[in-house]
């Protein structure tokens, strides 16, 4: 979970808790009001206003205490845990609350004090005295009226006794005593009435009559419709209750009502004094608490708004420092803090991207290293296990690789250097080859080395290939592969000689049969003494001589093959050599035309002229044989990719594909009567020159023998 969502969740929790507390308080207040005050009149002392004020105050006090307590506890915990920003938050909060609470507290106490003094002043002695004296005056006035009414009721009782009087007498009594009413009751029933307006005089309440009957007298004060007051004094006389009524006018009654109302209001206010104080103090307290609550809330919010981004920044910085580059500030901030947060997030993102790129690069490098290491180990294993000697040289001629096979083949020690090779004459060919490659020339065909040691001669085939330079212009190294061909050469030699022996035996056996038959025929005729013995002897000896000559030529040919002279390379004019060889076949066959085509840039090439001439003769001889009665033979000289190229092309019957692999073996021939040594001799001469020979089809017909010799 991110920091922002955590904060939002906590804020929602707080709001939920606060909402629940407020709801509980409001419900509690409402239930209390409804339950206790449903049937109560709404007065200032016990009215809804005071209840609402009280419960609002309680709610605010609880909420304020909750907020303050929570804030203080949280701040304390944060300070204990040394959370960054807690000290700043504490200072900010204390300052804010102090700046708010001190003036508002002073204002509250001052205002409530002033208010209480003002309320006390309302109930000061002069006011109380004035109201009290006015009420006393009213009391005395009323008492006089009541006494007057009571006296007149007693007078009526004395005059009329307990008998109901005649109406005229009662009216006379009323007028004489200037009364408004005079009545007589028996129980609760009126038995006589005399009044100015009888219809306006109601029956006295039964309670008053009962009380008068019980106590002897009672009084009833009535407020009439026109505002005047009527004072009815009741006096019991036996079973009859006499009631005399005195009336005062509306103006006087209004004054008395005003005095009574003022006295009543004053008394009410006096009684309500604590409630008024409570209501006013509650109002002030409500305002004070509301301000304090708002200030605590705003202070906390402000402190949080400032410290949260700072704390989040510090936390993210710490995470960054510990290597967690995915750390971001998830707090929304505004103003300069917002810019700072945004800059920090951008920086963290940049760092993370760079780290990711570095990691990817490192992974690729590691993968590459692993692959290279695997290849290196594979190569090392291969180099350790192969019988082919491998030497590698860098651009400066230093030996970088020398496998055990190379050390064994070249009899090298552990410390192998180019000087080691140069110091050994038998390796001169290898050194020359390396010099050629390092000199920038294309790699030549493999060369053979003959090393003489205690185990005898050892033949090595050496091939050199250049390495691609690391950078353009840098000297390139090369790799030398050394193959021990001693046993191959030996086996080839054995096989060749075995084949030669078989061939010689075969070729010798063929002429022996006619020789034997001629000898047997001569002997038979001689023993028989026949007449044609001389002819037979002549014919037989001729056959024998012919076959012996053939045998001699055969032996000579094999002798030549066996006794190929040591190669003596010398600068040779190759076109002249070719013309010399071709001249031998001029007129050999009428229908066959032989020509030389020279495209060499440089005519002089270092070769053994005798052997190359011999090879050309063999190839031209075979070409004439292949052409038959007519054809064309072209001896071409040109510059090849590795040196010079000699081509002998004919338009003869060509070489079957199946015969091409065996073409240069000593026993192979497509002629009816040949030794099969011609192309073998050519192949050996070319090999002695470190060259190659191959055969291709000539278009449209015929064969094409291509000899490539290194240019030297």
């Amino acid at each position: 979970m991110s920091l922002l969502s955590e904060l939002q969740r906590r804020r929602k929790d707080n709001r939920l808790i606060l909402g629940l507390v407020l709801a509980v308080l409001v419900v509690w207040a409402a239930v209390s009001v409804v339950e206790q005050r449903a049937d109560e009149p709404t007065t200032i002392t016990r009215g809804l206003l005071l209840f609402v004020l009280s419960y609002t105050n309680i709610t605010l006090i609880v909420a304020l205490l909750f907020v303050l307590g929570r804030t203080i506890l949280k701040t304390w915990v944060e300070r204990r845990r040394r959370i960054l920003g807690s000290q700043f938050k504490t200072k900010l909060l204390v300052t804010y609350l102090g700046l708010t609470a001190i003036p508002i507290g002073l204002l509250f106490f001052t205002a409530t004090g002033l208010l209480q003094r003002s309320i006390d002043r309302w109930f000061s002695s002069p006011v109380r005295e004035v109201v009290g004296r006015a009420r006393d005056v009213q009391d005395r006035a009323e008492r006089r009226l009541i006494e007057e009414a009571s006296d007149e009721a007693r007078n009526a009782a004395r005059l009329f006794g307990d008998e109901a009087p005649v109406d005229e007498d009662l009216e006379t009594f009323r007028r004489d005593h200037r009364l408004e009413t005079i009545e007589a009751y028996r129980g609760t029933q009126r038995i006589a009435l005399a009044a100015e307006t009888p219809a306006e005089v109601g029956v006295l309440p039964a309670e008053t009559l009962r009380h008068a009957g019980a106590t002897g007298e009672d009084v009833k004060i009535e407020v009439l419709r026109d505002g005047s007051h009527r004072y009815r004094g009741a006096r019991a006389s036996g079973p009859v209750i006499w009631v005399a009524g005195v009336r005062i006018g509306p103006a006087e009654a209004k004054s008395m009502e005003a005095i009574a109302a003022a006295w009543s209001e004053y008394k009410k206010l006096e009684v309500q004094k604590p409630a008024i104080k409570a209501a006013n103090i509650s109002t002030f307290l409500l305002i004070t608490l509301a301000i304090l609550f708002a200030s605590a809330w705003i202070g906390q919010t402000l402190a949080r708004r400032i410290t949260l981004p700072i704390a989040a920044l510090a936390e993210s910085t710490r995470r960054l420092e510990s290597g967690e580059l995915s750390a971001r500030v998830d707090v929304r901030a505004e103003d300069e803090l917002g810019v700072l947060v945004e800059s920090f997030n951008r920086m963290a993102a940049g760092l993370e991207d760079a780290r990711d790129a570095l990691l990817r690069s490192n992974e690729e490098l590691q993968s590459s290293n692993l692959r290279v290491d695997l290849e290196r180990r594979l190569l090392a294993t291969v180099l350790e296990s192969v019988t082919t000697g491998v030497l590698a040289f860098d651009g400066q001629g230093r030996v970088t690789v020398c496998n055990p096979a190379a050390r064994a083949l070249l009899s090298l020690g552990e410390d192998v250097r180019i000087e080691t090779l140069r110091g050994r004459p038998e390796l001169q060919a290898l050194v020359d080859l390396l010099s050629e490659v390092q000199g920038g020339r294309l790699p030549a065909a493999p060369r053979e080395l003959a090393l003489h040691g205690p185990e005898g001669e050892r033949r090595l085939e050496v091939a050199v290939r250049p390495l691609a330079p690391r950078a353009a212009g840098e000297p390139a190294g090369c790799v030398v592969a050394i193959e021990d061909t001693t046993h191959v050469a030996r086996e080839q030699k054995l096989a060749a000689w075995s084949e030669v022996a078989r061939r010689v035996a075969h070729e010798i056996k063929n002429p022996l049969t006619p020789i034997r038959l001629s000898a047997e025929r001569i002997a038979k005729r001689f023993r028989a003494g026949e007449a044609d013995v001389p002819q037979t002897i002549e014919r037989g000896t001729r056959v024998i001589v012919e076959e012996v000559n053939f045998l001699k030529s055969l032996v000579d040919e094999f002798s030549r093959f066996a006794r190929l002279p040591e190669m003596r390379p010398e600068p040779t004019d190759l076109p002249a050599l070719a013309h010399s060889a071709v001249s031998l076949f001029e007129g050999a066959r009428e229908g066959v035309r032989i020509r030389v085509e020279n495209r060499l840039a440089r005519n002089v090439v270092t070769v053994d002229p005798e052997q190359i001439r011999r090879a050309l003769i063999n190839l031209i001889d075979n070409a004439i044989e292949a052409c038959g009665a007519s054809g064309e033979i072209l001896v071409g000289l040109s510059d090849g990719p590795a040196g010079v190229q000699l081509e002998v092309t004919d338009t003869g019957r060509g070489v079957a594909a199946r015969d091409r692999d065996k073409l240069f073996l000593p026993d192979f021939t497509t002629k009816g009567r040949g030794t099969g040594l011609g192309l073998a001799i050519v192949s050996r001469i070319v090999a002695d020159h470190n060259g190659t020979i191959r055969v291709e089809d000539n278009r449209p017909r015929g064969a094409r023998f291509i000899i490539e010799l290194p240019a030297a």
């Binding site: 109560e40 009684v271 604590p274």
Partner: protein, 189 residues
């Protein structure tokens, strides 16, 4: 020594405080008597409240402010074999007094569950005081035929304005619940 001194001082404080506590306990309003009587299905109540009419209340009445005492009355059936008794009915009897400074009469209004019960006037404060704190023959409940008729009793308490908590929170004084005698209702003619 120190422990003994502390115990002695605690005892002394307790002894000093006990008369005050007792006096306060004695002055505390309480339902002195609560007697129920069944006449047929009707249940009548007679009660008396002591200690409620203090000078503050009297002053309030004299000032012309309506002053009321509320009585919460509950009818229970006693369960001898259970943890609590069954509450059957609840009533609120209210007596309110208002003084008219012009006519100099006290108007006493009685109501039961908000319905007017009686209204009377008097000029005697003693009569007002009597009506506020006592009542005879108050018909409070009518037990139905399908209600339990035996092991019944009443509980009642009085509540009235008393003052302010922390000078700003108005609070009501309430007496403790007073239980009446057990009675039995006989239904039918």
């Amino acid at each position: 020594m120190r422990g003994a001194a502390r115990a002695a001082s605690t005892l002394l404080v307790a002894l000093c405080l006990s008369p005050a506590v007792s006096a306060q306990e004695a002055a505390k309003p309480r339902i002195e008597s609560c007697h129920a009587e069944a006449r047929g299905p009707d249940v009548f109540l007679r009660f008396r409240l002591d200690g409620a009419l203090n000078p503050e209340l009297a002053t309030k009445i004299e000032a012309g402010l309506e002053t009321a005492i509320r009585y919460d009355i509950r009818l229970y059936r006693h369960n001898a074999h259970w943890l609590w008794d069954d509450r059957m009915y609840t009533r609120r009897y209210r007596v309110a007094v208002t003084y008219d400074p012009v006519t100099r009469e006290y108007v006493v209004a009685e109501s039961l569950d908000g319905r007017p019960l009686a209204r009377s006037t008097t000029r005697e404060f003693s009569e007002v005081a009597r009506r506020l704190v006592s009542r005879d023959n108050l018909l409070v409940f009518r037990v139905r035929d399908d209600d339990p008729h035996k092991n019944l009793y009443l509980q009642m308490r009085a509540s009235f304005d008393s003052g302010y908590l922390f000078t700003i929170i108005p609070v009501d004084a309430k007496t403790s619940w007073k239980e009446s005698n057990r009675f039995e209702v006989r239904s039918g003619p």
